[in-house]
Symmetry: C2
């Protein structure tokens, strides 16, 4: 299936929709974020209520001062989803089950192309287009946050998979006897390395957040930076699981660069050092030795830039559907 | 990189070179095996000695009665290798380190295209072209034998990876604290599920082969079929590890079919039933539920047919290099 190449000549609206935050941005044709807005994903809303929030954020940004007409909309949303239809059932947004997100956005912006992909798939498109994977052809992108998502560029092209769900490295098994996972499986990377799992493991080992009533990964990262041994051990455990999964993916796919973003990646060396150690311990084939595992170059903006890349990249590298 | 499309109009020579056996065949343009020969991989030879054996087998087959001129040579060889140069360093053929196999075969057949890939990569090309993956676009092929190899077809095209080494599912980690692996890593699928590892685990649990002095996976499979509980447990342990690794690959790549060949796959349900159980336990995402894990449709011939496909398939589906 070859995409119709849509001539996009102006800025686009990008949406990045996850279990932790909703972000919207206006991205110009060079991949720069011209304007953006970001809010915490509201909790307790039903599906339509959440959609209203997304629609308001979109309208507000497009109608904001200095933002003219848009040439398209690119959306990254938590998976899984039916793709390219864009009916989404994000594991971390329980109020959306088969929610027709792409159609709803089309109703809002009926005159321009609207494309949607898994948020972590959009992330790797962004990192490949304008970030840490630029100039490379074999890139794994990972988002370590409320969940652990991923996306793949192989041979210079975004990998969709049979149903548009390729990239779910969060549900690679790293410990077959490990904790139950939200997906119904067991011992998945996500069950160990997602922010809430890291925090709750630390609590089970005696760590208590200083002031908050609920323990968050952000509190944990702060405490780890201050030297709390249990908080550090929790990040090391997550880093180890990430390194094991990345080693396996590297052997399976013969990658060049792995780029890691998302909130938990802000922990820096407290996460990346044990990750690197486990990765090097397990990625021993000769062809895996030059692989670099690096923080996302686009930081918090990778998701928005990647969503925009679905529409803006001037060929079908990131979009193989209708 | 787009391949020059070589017009292949007649039968080709296919070579399948592994740690257990050497096979050669004449394959017609429809993918049928017209003639073939198979010998155990000689042990104790140095690199040049082993090459002489391969060259003799090749000449014998091409010059055999009824075999005319060949239009090309396709080679599958144990990995890893430098690709597409075809300098091979098979883990299970220690006498070849950076052995220039593609060049040597070119010297033997200087007038026709010679293409070489990892044997398990060739296997999946064969299964996609004429076997269990026919008509599907997202296929993982696995060869469970002396080693555990693999190859990938995604989006209808063979996946090469950055250096031609994509597909090494045998070195995906299934138990980070598991046994040491020949690759230098730990807890790789191959360290648990390769034939010799299955047999030696059974020996460690008290199983003894009936007559032979060394315990082989074939003896073990025979005893398991006769109801020996330790032999059955050994196959179940291997099947579990295979199922866990396949579940992870399915989530990562959003596959349609996984086809499993190689000597150990001859164990049938004693291997495939525990494999399927572990796979279903861990592959829980909705998009993974329709994936089928099946024995190789081409059986012992998959490697030869796949090696031939590198040259015979009339486009660049299976060959993206020069």
């Amino acid at each position: 299936m070859t995409a119709e190449v849509v001539p996009v000549t102006g800025p686009v609206l990008a949406l990045d929709i996850g279990g932790t935050k909703l972000a919207a941005g206006i991205i110009d044709t060079g991949g720069r974020v011209v304007a953006s807005a970001r809010i915490a994903t509201p909790e307790g809303l039903d599906g339509e209520g959440l959609w209203s929030t997304v629609a308001s954020l979109s309208r507000q940004l497009v109608q904001g001062p200095g933002n003219g007409a848009i040439s398209g909309v690119g959306i990254g949303c938590g998976g899984p989803m039916q793709w390219p239809d864009g009916r989404v059932s994000p594991l971390n947004i329980p109020s959306w089950t088969e929610f027709p997100l792409r159609d709803r956005v089309r109703e809002l912006f009926p005159d321009v192309p609207v494309r949607l992909h898994n948020d972590a798939v959009a992330f790797v498109a962004g990192e490949h287009w304008r970030g840490a994977g630029r100039g490379r052809d074999h890139v794994l992108g990972m988002v370590v946050s409320t969940g652990v998502g991923g996306g793949l560029v192989l041979g210079g092209r975004l990998v969709d998979g049979a149903s548009g769900n390729a990239g779910h490295i969060g549900h690679v098994v790293v410990d077959a006897d490990g904790p139950d996972c939200i997906c119904g499986g067991r011992g998945c990377l996500e069950a160990i390395a997602r922010g809430p799992a890291v925090a709750s493991w630390a609590v089970s080992q005696g760590w208590r957040p200083g002031s908050a009533t609920t323990a968050t990964a952000r509190d944990l990262t702060d405490d780890a930076a201050r030297g709390h041994p249990v908080a550090q051990a929790a990040l090391a455990r997550a880093g180890h699981a990430l390194g094991v999964a990345i080693a396996g993916a590297t052997h399976l796919l013969d990658l060049e660069v792995v780029t890691v973003g998302g909130g938990l990646s802000q922990a820096g060396p407290l996460l990346f050092d044990p990750l690197e150690e486990a990765f090097r311990r397990h990625a021993r084939m000769q062809f895996a030795r030059d692989v670099r595992v690096v923080p996302a170059a686009l930081g918090q903006e990778a998701g928005l830039v990647g969503a925009a890349a679905l529409v803006l990249a001037g060929d079908d590298r990131y979009w193989s559907a209708d």
